[in-house]
Symmetry: C2
Subunit: 251 residues, 2 copies
C-alpha cells in the first residue's frame, strides 16, 4: 500500500505519468509531426480530433455542473468560454474547423460526425462519462494532460509548418491560443488536486484519473494508425480520403 505523498511527490508522480503515457509518445504523432503522413491521413486526424474538440465544452459543462462552489465555477467556466467563444465563428471549436476547412474537408461532413471512427467516439464519450460518474477530484485530475501539451504543440506546429505545404500558421491558429490557455488551466487543476487529494486513496485516484485521460488520447491515435496508416481493412462507413497529395512519403 502506498502511503500519503507530499504535494510535491504527488506532482512528481503525475509528471511521471506523462513521461510514460502521454500521446506525444505515440507513433502516429511522430509520423504527423515528421511530415510522414499524406494529405488524406492528416485529414483523417483533423476530422477525428474535431469530435474531441467539440466535446470538450460538454465535458467541462459536466464538470461545472458538479461544482457547488461559485469560486470554483467562476474559474472553470473560462474553459467553456475559450472553446465556444462569444459569437459564432469564435473560440477553439471554430478554430479547429478552420483547420478542417484548410484541409479541404466539408464543414457539414465534419460536424455530422458521419465519417468518425467508432473508437474515437467511444474514447471521447468515455471521457465525458468519466467526469460525470467519478468524484469531482478525479474529474478535475483528468484534465491534467494539459500539463504536457505545450511541448507537443510546439513540436506539432513547427513540424507541420515545415513538412506540409497544405497547412499554414492560419489553419493552425487553434494551437496558438492553447499555448497560453493550457498552462493556465493546468496550473489551476494541478494546484487543486495537490490541495484536495488528502488521503493515499484520493492521491491514487488522481493518478489513475490522469492515466485514464492518457488512455483517452492514446486510443484515438491507435484508431487512426490502425485505420489510416496500416489498415487491415476499410472501416465500414468511416472517412475515406478521396485524394492523396502525398507531400511526404508514406511509410
Amino acid at each position: 500500500m502506498t502511503g500519503l505523498l507530499s504535494p510535491q511527490e504527488l506532482e512528481a508522480r503525475l509528471r511521471d505519468v506523462g513521461t510514460r503515457r502521454y500521446h506525444s509518445l505515440h507513433p502516429f504523432h511522430r509520423l504527423l509531426h515528421g511530415g510522414r503522413l499524406d494529405f488524406g491521413q492528416v485529414q483523417a486526424w483533423a476530422l477525428n480530433r474535431y469530435y474531441y474538440q467539440a466535446m470538450i465544452p460538454v465535458k467541462d459543462s459536466s464538470v461545472l455542473a458538479r461544482m457547488e462552489d461559485a469560486e470554483l465555477r467562476r474559474v472553470w467556466r473560462q474553459r467553456i468560454i475559450d472553446h465556444d467563444g462569444d459569437h459564432a465563428g469564435e473560440g477553439g471549436i471554430a478554430r479547429w474547423l478552420k483547420l478542417t476547412d484548410g484541409l479541404g474537408l466539408d464543414r457539414g461532413y465534419v460536424t455530422s460526425l458521419v465519417g468518425l471512427l467508432p473508437a474515437t467516439r467511444f474514447a471521447v464519450e468515455a471521457y465525458v462519462h468519466f467526469v460525470r460518474e467519478k468524484s469531482l477530484l478525479e474529474a478535475i485530475a483528468s484534465s491534467l494532460t494539459e500539463m504536457f501539451s505545450p511541448g507537443i504543440i510546439e513540436e506539432r506546429v513547427a513540424g507541420m509548418l515545415k513538412n506540409y505545404d497544405f497547412v499554414s500558421r492560419e489553419t493552425l491558429a487553434y494551437f496558438d491560443n492553447r499555448l497560453t490557455q493550457a498552462p493556465r488551466d493546468a496550473d489551476f487543476a494541478l494546484d487543486y488536486v495537490k490541495t484536495h487529494a488528502r488521503t493515499p486513496e484520493q492521491q491514487q485516484a488522481v493518478i489513475r484519473a490522469l492515466e485514464f485521460k492518457c488512455d483517452v488520447l492514446w486510443v484515438q491515435l491507435d484508431a487512426l494508425y490502425f485505420a489510416y496508416v496500416d489498415p487491415k481493412m476499410a472501416y465500414p462507413g468511416a472517412f475515406l480520403p478521396t485524394e492523396s497529395h502525398a507531400p511526404g512519403e508514406r511509410r
Copy 2:
C-alpha cells in the same frame, strides 16, 4: 428520406447490417478461428472479452430498469439469469472464466481488469451507456447482433478445437449454451423491434442501433489486432503474454 418499411423489409435491412458489419468479418476472427494465433494472443482475446461478458448483465439490468411493462421484464430478466446463474460458479460469466482458467490466466488478474486494453473498456462502456441513454426501442435493437452469433460460434468452436491443443470442449462450454440462448433472445428482440418501430425515424434508429453494436464488437477486435497481432508498441499497463506456445504459426 427513407419511407416506412414493412416489418419484413426492416428485418432484411437489419440482416444486411450483419452481412456488412458483423465482427465475423474481422481479420482477427479469421486468425483466431483458423489457428493462426499463438497462445498469448488467444489469452489476450479471452482476457479482453471477459470484460464484455462481465458487463452484459449490467447492460441487461440497465435495459430492464427502463421497462415499465412486467411482461417485458419477465422475458428480459432471463438474460441476466443466464449470465449470472443461480449460484456462484454457474452462468455465462463463470463459464467464460473456465475458458480463461483453461488458458492459464490467473482469475484474480482477469477479474481485476488490470490488463485490459483501454479500447476494450471504452467500447464495452459505450454499450452500457447507449442502452441507458437512447430509447428503449434502440436499447433492445442494439442486442440484435445475436441474430448473427450462431454462425460465428459454430465456426469458432470447430476451428479452435481443431487448431489449438490448449482448448477443449470443456473450456469452450460457454458457447454451447449460447447456441440455444442467443437465437431465443434474438427472436424476441427482432419481433419486438418489428412491432414497435412504427415510423421511418424509429426504423432508422433501430438500424443505427444495430450498426452501433457492430461497432462495439468490431472495435474490440481492432484493439486486439493492433496490440497483439501487429503491435507498433506495447500498450502501457496492458496484458503481456509471458510465454508463447505458438501451436499455430504467427502471421
